[in-house]
């Protein structure tokens, strides 16, 4: 099963071949060969990505080149201003929050933010928020309510930070408070899982009227590794755990947790970030247009019932 992680290898080889060809002097043959290789790449990417296992999707969801929250903000909005700090302890760079213009509306943005290079990864704590991050998000959502702006939330975290300081300052309370307040926030909320939806740390900004998931994103109660370590007593059984927990976007839609799955281009979001972000932008516009005119009471009733219905029992 080690080959599981190498599903991108054939694609990498074709991409290498294309850039090699691009180094040759221009000629009709070169152009033809590049065209042929591109076609092959698209076809193969489509084929491989259509059949990804839940574990492989988990790896795609964590891909370091996948677009992050701020990439969406940069491409989809203008006039973004980032707000900082929870007004109680500090600013948590693992969550970004602020306001921006999206289409014809001003929206509030909250989202997990991972880092691209080592320095940035460390600064953003690998996208694992401390309590301050959730409290900053809450502050901005309350502002959104005050100024009547819909909230767009972007979910991408392996989970809240399991550290000593995080516990000391009450990360559980911070998440819990967000769940309650978001369930009553008197403006539309759309949450989009763009990468990893890691347990309570994801849900802490995930209570919404509409939940979108990118095609290869995952959403789970615990990481497959964590689940494997507890139930199989072996972290290496993460593939089975991912399968058993049904972490994929399609599963979450079938279980009533996601409302819509947003398509990713062949080869995944990291193969074509711009197309991916466009797809998300289109979906966000459609749902905002639908939610914005709704009377607040109907909106809140719908949001309550949406989560109230989740679960399966006899």
């Amino acid at each position: 099963m080690a080959s599981d992680a190498n599903f991108e290898e054939p694609l990498r080889r074709i991409r290498e071949r294309i850039s090699e060809l691009e180094g040759y002097p221009e000629s009709p043959q070169r152009a033809r060969e590049i065209g042929k290789q591109r076609e092959k790449l698209d076809k193969l990417a489509e084929e491989i990505y259509r059949k990804l296992s839940p574990w492989q999707k988990t790896l795609v969801a964590r891909h370091p080149s996948r677009p992050f929250c701020l990439d969406y903000v940069r491409l989809l909005t203008t006039d973004f201003v980032e707000w900082h700090g929870d007004r109680a302890f500090g600013d948590d760079p693992a969550i970004v929050a602020g306001f921006a213009v999206f289409g014809k509306r001003v929206v509030a943005i909250v989202g997990h933010q991972k880092g691209r290079d080592t320095k940035e990864k460390i600064r953003r704590n690998f996208g694992m928020p401390r309590p301050e991050g959730y409290r900053k998000a809450l502050r901005i959502m309350k502002l959104a309510e005050k100024f009547q702006r819909p909230v767009l939330s972007f979910i991408d975290t392996q989970g809240a930070y399991p550290g000593l300081d995080s516990e000391e300052r009450g990360v559980a309370e911070a998440i819990a408070r967000n769940l309650l307040v978001m369930s009553q926030l008197r403006v539309p909320i759309i949450a989009t899982v763009i990468g990893e939806g890691g347990s309570g740390g994801a849900l802490g900004i995930g209570v919404a009227d509409t939940v979108l998931m990118l095609e290869h994103s995952v959403y789970s109660v615990i990481s497959p590794e964590g689940c494997a370590a507890i139930l199989w007593k072996d972290q290496a059984r993460a593939q089975e755990a991912a399968e058993a927990m049904r972490v994929t976007a399609a599963d979450c839609k079938a279980l009533g947790v996601a409302d819509e799955v947003v398509a990713e281009p062949p080869g995944g979001a990291h193969a074509d970030p711009v197309a991916t972000i466009d797809n998300v932008g289109r979906a966000l516009r459609v749902h905002l247009d639908r939610l914005a005119p709704m009377p607040v009471d109907a909106l809140l009733e719908g949001r309550y019932n949406k989560f109230r219905r989740m679960g399966a029992f006899a």
């Binding site: 516990e167 408070r177 309650l180 309570g200 972490v247 279980l255 679960g311 029992f313």
Partner: protein, 283 residues
Amino acid sequence: MWFKKDKAPRAPRDPRTSSSIQEGLFLKCEECKETLFAREVERNRRVCPKCGYHFRLPADERLRLLFDDERYDIRFADVKPTDPLKFKDTKKYRDRLREYEVKTGRSDAILAATGAIDGRKTVVAVMDYAFMGGSMGSVVGEVLARSAELALAEKCPLVVVTSSGGARMQEGILSLMQMAKVSAALGRLGAARLPYVAILTDPTTGGVTASFAMLGDATLAEPKALIGFAGPRVIEQTIRQTLPEGFQRSEFLLEHGFVDLVVTRHELKAALANVLMLLSPAA
């Protein structure tokens, strides 16, 4: 044998399994290591008569402890677990459920009831750690949401006694969503100005802490209960340090501002009744 003094070196204390009373005539206190008469401990509300250590209390004993004259009506017992994911690890989830049902006589990790506390009608829901580590799946979430809605309909307070390792992995993402579901139901209760009191007992961790355990209008905790989001072992692995003594215990949370009151089991009912009186609408 219970009187044997020298034993194999003890494994590090596991807060998930350590404090249940073993079957038999005698038991050993986790805290003071005294050998105690099981009957005596049981009669003492499962508190060590020597040092005051709080053993875990089964859910039905908790209900008897809190309600006047030990009288109450069980509610929502008809909500039973299913296996929405057809989950299987080393064992099938269905088989696990059946095993725990046989072991505990309960179909899931929660017991809800209505009754009177100092004459005041109250809905109480108690989690049961003995059933799959008190893990929260759809049944726990549903019973809690119904309890909150019942309190809302009856215009009475809600009390939840937590004891849980967190969300139940075998129901996957549906377990996670119970956090949102219950929190939203508590939001409605709060909007109607009806009191919600959380009583945290050993252990309360994971998704239970990160939702209704931390949303009480008043938050009471039993002494030395483990209360946290991440478990101590996960934190130690993350920060590669040993955690300080008393970390994530009730007294630690009190000191850091996340618990209002640490009360012994013997004082619990009186403290709860008092809080309910202070928060309830004037009669």
